[in-house]
Each structure stands twice: as structure tokens, then as C-alpha cells.
């Protein structure tokens, strides 16, 4: 139920993000979702890709500091109040969200969101209990 996310350390320099995407392109890796968090000096690029193992190996070989994290991708109804329904479940269960971001592509009428939880295991159980659909790694790769 969990999905592998790749995180990359990036200095705030011209062209650095381009170099990452170029490297992934060359290695035949498709980006499914991405997000950047930044400060004045550096940023963290977070990626969901179709081939995480290859992406990690390619980035490391390219001299980047990169690591993997387990995240959860959730289907959210694409209508007013859709997101708040999911967040309501998390709030009631006392689950902390470290960060979240959306997918580039849409599988259906539903929106796809990526969540990084403080406690991933507990979050998966709570979401399933509430009948919220969690997307599998295979589904992501076949998007």
C-alpha cells in the first residue's frame, strides 16, 4: 500500500533542477508527481516515478544526494469538500501529516494526493477503515 518516493538535495543554483530532470529523462524514467520545498540556500525535490530503484541509482551515480521515503497515495473525490473529508479522518485519528502534494496525472474523476505521514502504518490502517481508497505502487506505475 505504500509507495516509494525519491528525495533529492538541491542547492539553489541555476540549472540544478534541469539537470535532475535531464538525468531522469536519459535513464528512461517517467515522473508521476513532484514537489519542491525550499529555503534561501537549498531545496528538497520529492518525486514519485515509475521506476524508483533505477531513479535512485541514476541520481547517486550522477553525484546527487538522494534517499527514499515511504509515502501514501490517496484517491480524493474531485469536488468541493473532497480533501476535507480525508483530512477529517486523519484529524480524528490524531495523525500528523509531514507534507502533501498532488499528482500531475488523473486516473479518473478522482484526484490523487501524496501524503507523507509521521506514522505511515497507522495512517494506512485508519484510511482503509474509513473506506478511503489507497493507490498501489503498481497502479502508479501503470498510470
Amino acid at each position: 500500500m505504500k509507495i516509494t518516493q525519491i528525495s533529492v538535495f538541491l542547492e539553489n543554483r541555476k540549472g540544478r533542477l534541469f539537470e535532475v530532470t535531464q538525468l531522469l529523462g536519459k535513464n528512461g524514467i517517467n515522473i508521476r508527481a513532484l514537489n519542491i520545498a525550499e529555503t534561501d540556500d537549498f531545496g528538497v525535490l520529492r518525486l514519485v516515478v515509475d521506476k524508483p530503484k533505477d531513479a535512485l541509482a541514476g541520481l547517486k551515480a550522477g553525484g546527487f544526494v538522494a534517499s527514499t521515503t515511504e509515502i501514501v497515495a490517496v484517491e480524493v473525490p474531485d469536488n468541493p469538500g473532497g480533501l476535507s473529508e480525508v483530512l477529517g479522518v486523519l484529524s480524528r485519528e490524531g495523525l500528523n501529516v509531514e507534507y502533501m502534494y498532488g499528482f500531475v496525472e488523473k486516473k479518473s474523476e478522482e484526484a490523487l494526493l501524496v501524503f507523507r505521514f509521521e506514522d505511515t502504518e497507522k495512517a494506512v490502517v485508519a484510511l482503509e477503515k474509513a473506506g478511503i481508497r489507497i493507490i498501489t505502487e503498481t497502479e502508479i506505475h501503470n498510470l
Binding site: 528525495s7 538535495f9 542547492e11 537549498f42 544526494v65 534517499s67
Partner: protein, 433 residues
């Protein structure tokens, strides 16, 4: 083993007599051969006959690094160029480089002291030694080379750089000893892992690391990662190059070969010795050199010395690691800062590698800013900004409490700070002072 038991284990009284005899001969020699020293001693009203005992050394004037540069290229040589067999040049950051020359006898001396150093680190005749100090004008490579020849080692004269090749030959030939700069050795750790080699299983059992400052924490890191005995070697081209002093297996200070290089520890810029064990500027007098003998040469290295006999049996004085330099020290907003202080702090923070650089700049308001770049690696990287910011804050707080000055910390990508060739550049001063 102790390579020269007579000289390395001599009783102090006997040593003093030997040093006294050698000092008076060295003074006679420079007075007969060096116009610079003839003038210098005359200006200080010193007659060579007045220098009879090693204790008379304090009557002699100092020699400063600038004098080597001012007398560029050969003005401080005490013999004609025809008698010089080898010349070494150290890069100067400003103006002329420092030039030194060795006679045949000086080269024999160099081989002798480095042979003592390799044996002191634990090397034996017949061991294979991989020399990854730069060969050429820098004294590191050839100095180790002559010592290894004298001791009777099998030499792999690699020079610096080409890490993949260094690691391949280590893996194939199984040398027991490696000599290189400590920062280069840490750099090779990354390379080894990239090549899929297990650093724990390397053939190197003994490391002879020097040519740049490094801390005991860095030693721990090297010893744990490589499963090696990491020893410190000290030297400077003005005195001979590597082989001035070396740690034994007990790693409790570097044994100074004082039958040939006489050390004093003085209060910076003064002619006043510190108490035994206190830190001060290291000053050397060569006792037997011919090419470029130097009298009371101010090294600008800050060390302490103990004269207690070592557990290894040597009666040589032992010097601490170089704690700082009287001239590498940077002054930011009136505070003296040594790069070694920064290194010490970083090594005490878990997951932080000692790969750093200090950038000093003058802000438009006229105040100096100190920015410290620290490389991020997989051990301290996180996908959560909060954790990276906590790391930055932690480094900042600990550095500020040690340095006593506000600093800005910048996390940078790995290998941003050049360290593959020779010495890592620790300070960039952008102030146009």
C-alpha cells in the same frame, strides 16, 4: 621497530651534548657559507664562538618565512648550486614561492628521518607502501619515497589523485601501508563504496597521514571506516619536508627527531618559551643541514611539546597536533578563528562529515560575515525540511558557542568543496583587506 635506536632512545644528557656540538658546528657552517646569516648574526652582535651549548640558542636571531621569499630563489642557500642535488618549491599564496635545496648529504638525512618515521608508525622492512602524496615539487611524495627506500620497503609510487586506480592497485597488490593527506583518504572512502569495495577489508593496516591539519575525531572516523591504524606525520619543506616528527603506535604525540631538528615552543612573536605542555609557536633549528640550514625558523604552527619518555621507549620529545597557525588564523570582527575549531565541532555532530569551508566576506555596512559551508551526505539528508533546518540550527548553535561569533551555515551538495588533490582549501577570504 625503532629504526635508529641510538638517536631515538638516547639519554637526555648525552643528547644535549650532541645537540650542543652540532649547533656550534651548524653556526660555524652558516657563518662560513651564508651571506644572509653572516649579516644577520653581525647585526645582532653575535660571534660564533659565543654559541657553545644548545642553551645558547636563545641568543640567536629568528628566521622568518618572508626571508625565504625575499631571498628568492637561492639567496638563503649555504652552498653553491653545483652542490645542490634536488630542489623543491612550495606554492605561495602571495608573491614568490618558497624554494629549498638539498645536497647529497641532505637527501641522505631526509631518507634517514623518514625511514625512522615509517618504522615509528609500525612499518617494517619488506612492507609494501603506497605513496599517494603528490610527487614533484611538493616534498610529500619524494620524501616518503626516500624514507621507504632507506627502510627497505616495496614502493608503489602512485602520487596523488586517480582514486579508482589507487583502490584497484590496493585491492590487487595488497600494500600494508598508505601515505596521503587525511582528507584525500576520507575522499577515497566514498570512491571505494562507489566501486563496491568494502573499506573494512582493505589491505592497508597503517596510514601515514599529514600535510594538513586533522583532528582526533577525524582519526576516529578514518580508523573506524577503514579498519586501519591512522598515524600523524609532520614536516615542512623549509626544515626537510615530511619526517620532522611522527607518531608511534601509541598515538600520544609526534616524536621529533631532535638530534637533527631542534625544537622550541615560544609565545607567538616573542623570544620567550612557554611552559612545558603549553601551546605556542613551534620554532626549529636544523643542526646538520648543508643546502639550506635554518636558524630558529618560526614555523607559525601552534603546538605543545612534552619531554616525557614515551611508552614505546623513545626519549624524543613529542609534539601535539598543530592546533592552528599564527597566520592561517582569520580574524573576523576581532575574534581569532582557526579552521581546526570548526572541524572539531562538525565531527562531534552525528552524521556530519568534516567537509567544510569558511567564507569570510565584508558586508556593505563594513561588518565581516562568516559563512560556513557544510556538505550534505546520505547520513544527514532527509526528505523533511524540518530535519534539515534542525541540523542547520544545531551546527550554527554549536559553532557559535565555540567560536564566539555569529555565523551563517549553508548546506551544500557533496564534493562542492574541492579535496581530491592534495590539501582541502578551508578558508576563502573575500575581503579585500
Amino acid at each position: 621497530m625503532i629504526f635508529n635506536e641510538k638517536m631515538e632512545c638516547m639519554a637526555p644528557s648525552e643528547m644535549k651534548a650532541l645537540q650542543s656540538d652540532r649547533l656550534s658546528k651548524q653556526i660555524d657552517y652558516v657563518m662560513a657559507n651564508s651571506p644572509v646569516y653572516q649579516k644577520k648574526l653581525a647585526e645582532h652582535g653575535i660571534r660564533p664562538q659565543a654559541i657553545r651549548s644548545i642553551d645558547d640558542i636563545r641568543k640567536l636571531p629568528f628566521t622568518e618565512k618572508e626571508e625565504l621569499r625575499d631571498n628568492y630563489p637561492f639567496g638563503l642557500f649555504s652552498t653553491g648550486l653545483k652542490n645542490i642535488r634536488e630542489i623543491h618549491v612550495s606554492s605561495g599564496t602571495t608573491g614568490n614561492p618558497t624554494v629549498v635545496g638539498y645536497t647529497q648529504k641532505d637527501l641522505v638525512l631526509w631518507g634517514e628521518v623518514v625511514a625512522r618515521a615509517i618504522a615509528c608508525a609500525g612499518g617494517e622492512p619488506g612492507d609494501m607502501i603506497q605513496i599517494a602524496y603528490g610527487y614533484g615539487l611538493f616534498t610529500g611524495g619524494l620524501g616518503l619515497h626516500y624514507g621507504a627506500l632507506k627502510l627497505g620497503c616495496t614502493i608503489l609510487p602512485m602520487s596523488s589523485g586517480q582514486s579508482k586506480r589507487q583502490l584497484k592497485l590496493m585491492n590487487d597488490f595488497k600494500p600494508r601501508i598508505i601515505g596521503c593527506t587525511p582528507s584525500y583518504f576520507l575522499y577515497m572512502l566514498d570512491e571505494a563504496r562507489e566501486l563496491g569495495l568494502d573499506p573494512q577489508k582493505s589491505s592497508w593496516e597503517i596510514g601515514i597521514f599529514g600535510a594538513e591539519p586533522w583532528s582526533d575525531n577525524m582519526r576516529q572516523e578514518i580508523e573506524n571506516a577503514w579498519n586501519i591504524r591512522a598515524t600523524d606525520i609532520y614536516g615542512l619543506s623549509e626544515i626537510i619536508g615530511p619526517g620532522v616528527s611522527q607518531e608511534c603506535h601509541l598515538k600520544c604525540g609526534m616524536h621529533i627527531f631532535w638530534d637533527v631538528f631542534y625544537p622550541e615552543v615560544l609565545k607567538p612573536n616573542l623570544n620567550e618559551p612557554v611552559k612545558e605542555g603549553e601551546f605556542g609557536e613551534l620554532v626549529f633549528t636544523t643542526l646538520t643541514k648543508q643546502g639550506i640550514p635554518l636558524i630558529r625558523y618560526r614555523t607559525r604552527d601552534i603546538v605543545s611539546i612534552t619531554y616525557e619518555k614515551c611508552g614505546c621507549g623513545r626519549t624524543l620529545p613529542r609534539m601535539s597536533k598543530v592546533r592552528g597557525r599564527t597566520d592561517d588564523m582569520i580574524i573576523v570582527r576581532g575574534i581569532n578563528i582557526f579552521p581546526s575549531q570548526v572541524e572539531h565541532v562538525l565531527l562531534n555532530i552525528e552524521g556530519v562529515l568534516p567537509h567544510y569551508q569558511l567564507i569570510v566576506d565584508r558586508a556593505s555596512g563594513g561588518l565581516d560575515d562568516l559563512e560556513i559551508w557544510v556538505e550534505v551526505d546520505e547520513k544527514n539528508f532527509s526528505d523533511e525540511m524540518r530535519k534539515l533546518e534542525n541540523l542547520t540550527t544545531k551546527i550554527k548553535k554549536e559553532l557559535e558557542s565555540v567560536l564566539g561569533i555569529l555565523v551563517k551555515i549553508k548546506l551544500v551538495e557533496p564534493k562542492t568543496i574541492a579535496r581530491s588533490e592534495g590539501k582541502a582549501k578551508r578558508v576563502i577570504d573575500r575581503r579585500s583587506l
